[in-house]
């Protein structure tokens, strides 16, 4: 009894010294990062105001307020004899452009998705080391590094740059925008989905192998069913991102709402800008709804 008490006390003492040993150091890290981030924030403001000579008074000046209210009132249709958002003709045009934008986004995610599906299996680390298909080959190792570098390259180049180059080569339209968006998202989707494949439980595959399945049959019966729902989730997520990015590639000449938005801005057709922004908003909500619906179907 006495012995037990003694050993319990020594255990308690050991635990206490352990926690005492670690607790101050974690506190120090928290304190240090808090001080550092405060210091960084202060230094940034000092730099902006003292070195760059930026003035908040200037930003919130009466002049700027007049510009802003003028712009908004023009967007709302003041001074315009016929605001675009009240015209059936411009509505028809805007809806057609939205439809074109939607086409571009669907085309883009299809390019990215098909490219990903064709390359994703050899791009998984588990395929390189042979644990995925239960056979390790030299061409598996080569194709892993090849595909992974293509992924890295294509997602490193922003879609805006790709779009500028492609529009420069082809004439402006849906296809250049879709190609640019598709190429960039191919790299992103490929990486995300290769990681999905890497995380798949391999025990069912081994069971299939022992019941006589070939590598192709294992892919079909074990890898694909396990990965498909996550593939779809990622594709839908990237589709939502793409529909938002279409407006940016539109700025450099790819078709759709983005291009018209830039043209209307440079022609000072402010009521058209309002209409296009509104159509764009509708389109984003529409795509999010469809994407959410499809995602629910996979559960």
């Amino acid at each position: 009894m006495n012995l037990e008490r003694e050993s319990f006390n020594s255990l308690k003492a050991r635990v206490l010294t352990q926690t005492r040993g670690t607790a101050p150091s974690t506190l120090n890290i928290v304190k240090l990062s808090a001080i550092l981030s405060l210091g960084l924030a202060a230094a940034s403001w000092v730099y902006v105001i003292a070195v760059e000579n930026a003035s908040l008074n200037e930003f919130f000046s009466r002049e700027n307020l007049t510009y802003a209210t003028g712009f908004i009132s023009q967007m709302l249709g003041n001074n315009a004899n016929k605001p675009a958002f009240l015209e059936a003709e411009s509505w028809r045009n805007a809806l057609f452009l939205s439809y074109e934008t939607l086409q571009m986004s669907v085309l883009a995610i299809s390019f990215a998705g098909i490219g990903m599906l064709l390359t994703v299996i050899p791009a998984a680390r588990t395929a390189r080391d042979g644990s995925l298909t239960l056979s390790r080959t030299w061409y598996g190792i080569v194709s892993f590094f090849l595909i992974r570098s293509v992924y890295t390259l294509s997602r490193a180049v922003p879609e805006l740059i790709v779009a500028m180059i492609i529009v420069f080569i082809f004439k402006p339209g849906i296809l250049p925008g879709a190609l640019a968006l598709g190429l960039h998202n191919f790299g992103i989707l490929g990486k995300l989905c290769a990681e999905v494949v890497e995380d798949i439980d391999l025990r069912p595959s081994r069971a299939l192998r022992s019941s006589g399945a070939s590598t192709a049959q294992i892919l079909l019966y074990s890898i694909l069913p396990a990965a498909a729902p996550k593939f779809l989730t990622y594709m839908l997520y990237r589709w939502e991102v793409i529909i938002r990015t279409t407006i940016i590639v539109g700025f450099v000449g790819a078709a759709g709402l983005g291009r018209q938005f830039k043209l209307s801005m440079s022609w000072f057709h402010y009521t058209e800008v309002t209409l296009l922004l509104f159509s764009y908003l509708l389109l984003v909500v529409f795509v999010d709804l469809i994407s959410g619906f499809l995602r629910r179907l996979t559960r």
Binding site: D201, A207, S211, G212, A213, S214, A216, Y221
Partner: protein
């Protein structure tokens, strides 16, 4: 003429790094025997089963599966007609309906296009339905596998094994994840299926009572050696219990020693 033994092991040993998983041992398993492998964890039961299944190559000795060395039975239909194995869990494709998991036992016999087509229009449905009704869950045939309970999943794994129709059933702790009632249920089905279809059955188990009740021959392993190998009728339960008690004392001694250090 006497049929070839299902498995013949001659001086088979296997070690992982420095630790010997299986001391060199020799063993003959005749066709139609139902054998329980018992022994504490780490005794080498799983290693032995994987060697029988041809999944692991032993370091020393020869294995003969119905007279063939495992190298002569490459993964594929040649091997899957001889031996089939089920594990304790995580063996099924959770996202697929039950029927495809059962039919996966046929993949060795099917071409790629037939297996692709089967995902759309299931092939050999009668076979799958019959196998499922033998394990008592024919009504679950179209359910998603992830929605089944642990016991039902093991039944699906058993149905897949019977659809695969190998000459020998191997089962690596098929009931260790189940509660006692469901464990006994599954063992009844497994042994009945093996006996009715004249299969050789080798299953590893933790429960000596279940081993005695349902199997004809008991092979006890301890530290990679055969501790005893006898027909079930010649074993008294004290002897079986001794297998674990000895091991428990050994652990006690070990832990006392490490406690001092």
């Amino acid at each position: 003429m006497k049929a070839l033994p299902m498995f013949q092991l001659n001086g088979v040993g296997k070690s992982y790094g420095m630790t010997a998983a299986l001391a060199p041992l020799s063993l003959t398993i005749e066709q139609g025997e139902t054998i329980a492998l018992v022994g504490p964890s780490g005794a080498g039961k799983t290693t032995l089963l994987n060697i029988l299944a041809g999944l692991i190559k032993p370091d020393t000795g020869q294995v003969k599966i119905e007279g063939y060395p495992p190298a002569a039975l490459p993964p594929g239909p040649k091997r899957s007609r001889k031996v089939g194995i089920m594990h304790q869990q995580f063996d099924l494709i959770e996202q697929l309906p039950v029927i495809h998991n059962v039919l996966a036992g046929r993949l060795g016999e099917w071409s790629f296009f037939r297996s692709l087509f089967s995902l759309l229009v299931p092939q050999d449905v009668q076979l799958a339905r019959a196998a499922l009704s033998r394990v008592g869950i024919a009504d679950k045939i179209h359910l998603r596998t992830s929605r089944l309970s642990g016991g039902e999943k093991q039944r699906v794994a058993l149905a897949r094994l019977s659809v695969q129709d190998p000459k020998a059933f191997l089962a690596d702790e098929p009931v260790s994840s189940l509660d006692p009632v469901r464990a006994e249920d599954l063992l009844v089905m497994l042994t009945r299926l093996a006996i009715e279809e004249n299969k050789t059955l080798v299953a590893s188990l933790h429960s000596p009572e279940l081993a005695l009740r349902y199997f004809s021959r008991i092979i006890a392993l301890r530290n990679g050696n055969i501790y005893f190998d006898r027909s079930a009728s010649q074993i008294n339960s004290e002897e079986l219990a001794g297998l674990y008690i000895l091991e428990k004392e050994a652990i006690d001694v070990e832990s006392a020693a490490s406690g001092k250090a």
